[in-house]
Symmetry: C2
Subunit: 148 residues, 2 copies
DNA sequence: CGATAATGGTTTGTACACTAATTATCGTAC
DNA sequence: GTACGATAATTAGTGTACAAACCATTATCG
């Protein structure tokens, strides 16, 4: 009975905490990403492309767990600033092949300074970060399982 | 030296995971909140008001760590559906006293069904949730500390 | 072969979320 | 008592984020 009360209270704190932690950490990236003309979601797209390009919208959508409807305008903005190229696949005109421009490749050097700056600002050690990551992975898996 | 590399990779994963976990869990709330005409941020505002009303925009902003510029239109929508009242404080015409309507009070009964449904869907036990909450609190504190 | 279903992206509409600029009010110092 | 800096909220502008509707292309089946 009292465990029920605890569950309710904790859930409230967890959904609060998750939203706030996410916004706070993304806010930490902002001043570092802004000089290179990137927002955080755009940075995540670039990370994916630096690792493996070209990628289709569908593939990016699966990797970043982002709706295609969200990615579409985001990718257009990245093309407008000159970091990526959007071409239809010649084999299948339905799929869009998203690839890097030379400018986009060059940006990787800049971007490599970001993670150490973040870790330094957070001031958390390896173990704490690992524990956080483990917990987050657990929640993601749990919430993914619901989505049918 | 190799610990440095690990840290960098981990940071990347943590920022990914944080964003995805947040979106996923909020997505879990959507089908439960939609029938009562609330979005997740609106639900958080209502939680704050159920706990202690009236509250000013400034106080809500501090509690939820949300920009006043974000809250302003959100509160207008909550007023439009009839859950809250927005009145200027008679002592200080600058501050807005946000309070609950009878309808808003009544909604609390409905809302109490939400947390157990979420916990049940997540399928995580109390201990796992507590560990997640502990890690999140740590990150929030770390990121907050940076903001001067 | 041709209608039809499925797939991959885009568009539209609503709602955050943040920064910066604006407006209205309050407190204080002169 | 009036000018002035500080405070509280709103507005404007850009960029996510998702659902639903839409469109073009490809695959499939009769």
């Amino acid at each position: 009975m009292s465990e029920m009360v605890d569950l309710l209270k904790l859930d409230r704190q967890v959904c609060f905490a998750l939203a706030i932690a996410s916004r706070n950490v993304i806010g930490l990236y902002r001043p570092l990403l802004e000089p290179m003309g990137l927002t955080h979601p755009q940075y995540l797209v670039m990370l994916a492309l630096w690792e493996r390009a070209p990628l289709s919208v569908k593939e990016l959508s699966k990797l970043l767990r982002l709706d295609p409807g969200t990615l579409s305008p985001l990718l257009k903005r990245l093309e407008a600033v000159g970091y990526i190229r959007r071409r239809r696949d010649s084999q299948d005109q339905r799929v869009l092949a998203v690839s890097l421009t030379p400018e986009g490749h060059r940006l990787r050097g800049e971007a490599e300074k970001v993670p150490p700056a973040i870790v330094e600002r957070l001031g958390m050690n390896l173990e704490e970060l690992q524990e956080l990551h483990r917990s987050l992975t657990q929640v993601i898996a749990a919430a993914d399982g619901v989505h049918h």
